[in-house]
Symmetry: C2
Subunit: 461 residues, 2 copies
């Protein structure tokens, strides 16, 4: 049976498009979430056009062999991890930028286009594609769509979904669905575009996307503010939001992260006290407006108790200041193994999340460092542990779960931007409840009755 | 059977909540789209809480009597029109603003809250709920959600869907689904919120919504520009969009509309030529920034060939200038019966739409006047005809359809903000094609297997 399928795939897509070498397959069997399970694929298939995708979908559907679609594999939820006996459908060869329309400010792209390649291509037309997950230099737009990826841009520009005008999707029966439109407004029918964005490859395979673009922003001005405590930093964030100030970036680092970064860079970040919290803001509105924007933020920070604020309009200096945030994950990884969480809380509860994480660190005797997108409440508390020490992995996992629990108790969600995948299924069930889960299953059954696409991911049928 | 249902509804919801008087029922049987068919309901039911909604849904489901949910009835697609023998479920008594949270900038409201009542209530906290359909002083938030209503605000702030964080929905089996969250970001599961927003009452009954708010904007500064032709006005709009300028309002009126308004107001709008086109812009950023914003728009208008531009920072004077746009529909209605279209085209095709409508007017010998939201390409060409003249209704209907056809041929959609309802089902099928229609039917069947909610609206099963 599986031999017949491999033969058909080779006949339909070409022999080069079908990989069964175990070592190569292993390299396609996982994304970047080490805690999620991954199975052994039957084959890895790399189509290079929509007809290839259709042929693979039809062949797998007839053979009842599951399909796990994936892009570059930069995901952080195991959504792209293989299941035993599946076909991993790798979309990286559909990597064409089909069209850039500067007048209507949109681009039409295939899913295998790397996020940065799209950014670079549209920048030549003075345009900007904002979604910027931290893997932007190697993740693909298709993966960004499947996970509704976020990034640093979200505080001002929103998430991937906010830039999707329309999609082309291959459905489980091999038919091709076109959703959305090229206009900025439209209410003809259900919002199918939004149903597929963030569905983590469980409903169909995205083969093309029409994306909205914006004018290229100005080089950023940067502000750093050091607070004596998470509470005072949290107060500043709440006031900045409440006053309607919209920096193009607003990141927070807690005392534990600051210590790790200082050790890693052999430098003093100037936070003054041991319980210091750093807030990093940028404005990309340019010139006097950027300065005015950051001065307003600076005033709020000072009012909220900041012990130090520093502002610069020089992009190179701003880049240096941002380095502390950029190396945060590497700094933490240099001290042990890491489990990075992805809770999102109402922006008024950021301080509660940070102090709650300190409690969890005390309770488990582990390091828990919080960095995150303060502007939208999307926090990445990271549990640092010694993978070689007996029982420490289990304790880390308990801390990780306690953070999810804390996020929910603060009115938040279990995932702000990484997704559910093959790791947080139980937590999804808890967040959305039995009616929500039942609706998910009904929608999945409606579009993929034989559970062909990414079975067991996000939720079980 | 129907007597048994009425008895059960009265027992469960109270006798006052169940109306069967034919005259009263007739007043609830239609929205504001005269061309859509409307049936005779079995009863009109007015629950005042979610338990009442659940009881009505369960009773109707068991009796296999269809439910047509509605708010104030300000819709323009017949989506809220009764079908024969249905229960019209009127949501206006669920009219409580449950919560306003200024710190996290959100409100929790029941669907019967009038749009303006919400705007007024949040304004007391210095906050702003942007969606502003032209019926804002009497339409309800529930109807806005069901139709994903737009308005003048969309060019800067987006549509209703962009402000919905979460929903409570009663499903066809009477269960209560909660979608979304209170955080600004989140990817836990499918985007069920967006599936219900704009579904025109075909998938469930919205009983509560969590809505994002923004800080209250400044009083607007206003700019009027008169162009010698639709083409020069269209060029200006394209450049304004391309340069990334975002006025808080950008409306266009063609020569036919201008003539009607001049006659109606007995005034000269100063457009100079017979083929003149007016562009009206506002900025709500306040002070120097608003002036700078409108000056940039003004320069583009002058470059594109505007014969007259006039700017004012005085809100009262701005209001006077806006009067021409506000009375446009009344001015046209004073000259005959009106069919108002709702196509949305890419913003670069606005001039093509206006000149195409002139052609359609010539071909049919009728008046076609174009006003619309230039900032997002959502145009409202209005066919004016003599309802008493033999055959003129049919000719008007042909002109109306020709405009939809034109909109599609320009890469647009058949409805930018009014919806499909019981009037544009055939056009929806044409726009989304057989695969799109099949997906709509599958989703409808998944959530409403017995076709309980608003059957025959949007599409037939």
């Amino acid at each position: 049976m599986s031999n017949a399928l491999l033969g058909r795939l080779r006949a339909d897509l070409g022999a080069d498009a079908v990989v069964t070498d175990p070592d190569v397959m292993a390299s396609y069997a996982r994304d970047q979430m080490p805690l999620a399970p991954a199975g052994r694929p039957l084959a890895v298939v790399l189509p290079d056009d929509v007809e290839g995708v259709r042929a693979a979908v039809r062949a797998c559907a007839e053979a009842t062999v599951p399909i796990v679609p994936r892009g570059a594999g930069s995901g952080l939820s195991g959504a792209a991890n293989a299941v035993d006996g599946c076909v991993v459908l790798v979309m990286t060869k559909l990597d064409r930028i089909v069209e850039i329309d500067p007048a209507d400010r949109l681009a039409v792209v295939q899913p295998g286009v790397v996020n940065q390649a799209l950014r670079d291509a549209v920048a030549k037309h003075g345009l900007f594609y904002p979604p910027d997950p931290s893997s932007y230099d190697w993740c693909t737009v298709g993966g960004n769509l499947a996970t509704n990826a976020g990034g640093l841009c979200c505080v001002k520009y929103g998430v991937t979904a906010d830039f999707v005008l329309g999609l082309e999707v291959v459905l489980a029966d091999g038919s091709v669905l076109r959703t959305g439109r090229r206009t900025v407004k439209g209410v003809a029918g259900y919002d199918l575009t939004r149903l597929f964005v963030g569905s983590e490859g469980t409903l169909g395979v995205i083969t093309e996307a029409t994306l909205a673009l914006r004018p290229l922003p100005q080089a950023p001005a940067t502000l750093v503010a050091a607070f004596p405590s998470a509470v005072s930093a949290g107060t500043a964030v709440s006031r900045i939001v409440r006053d309607g100030l919209v920096p193009s970036l607003m990141e927070v680092m807690d005392a534990t992260t600051i210590r790790a970064v200082q050790d890693y860079l052999h430098t003093d970040l100037g936070t003054g006290s041991d319980s210091g919290t750093l807030l990093l803001c940028q404005s990309d509105t340019g010139g006097a407006q950027a300065i005015a924007e950051l001065e307003a933020v600076e005033r709020i920070c000072a009012d909220a108790g900041a012990e130090m604020t520093y502002q610069t309009g020089d992009p190179a200096e701003g880049d240096l200041l941002m380095k502390a945030r950029r190396v945060a994950h590497s700094a933490l990884e240099s001290t042990g193994s890491c489990m990075t969480d992805d809770v999102c809380v109402p922006r008024t509860r950021i301080a509660d999340l940070i102090t709650g994480c300190e409690r969890i660190a005390d309770d488990t005797g582990l390091t828990v460092a919080v960095v995150g997108h303060a502007g939208d409440g999307n926090m990445h508390p990271t549990v640092v542990y010694d993978a070689t020490a007996d029982g420490e992995f289990d304790r880390a996992r308990r801390a990780f779960d306690a953070i999810l629990d804390l996020g929910l108790s603060l009115g938040g969600t279990i995932t702000g931007e990484h997704g559910v995948g093959k790791f947080k299924q139980d937590w999804l069930a808890r967040e959305i409840g039995p009616v929500g889960l039942d609706v998910h299953r009904r929608l999945k059954r409606a579009l993929d009755p034989d559970n062909l696409f990414n079975p067991g991911s996000m939720f079980s049928m």
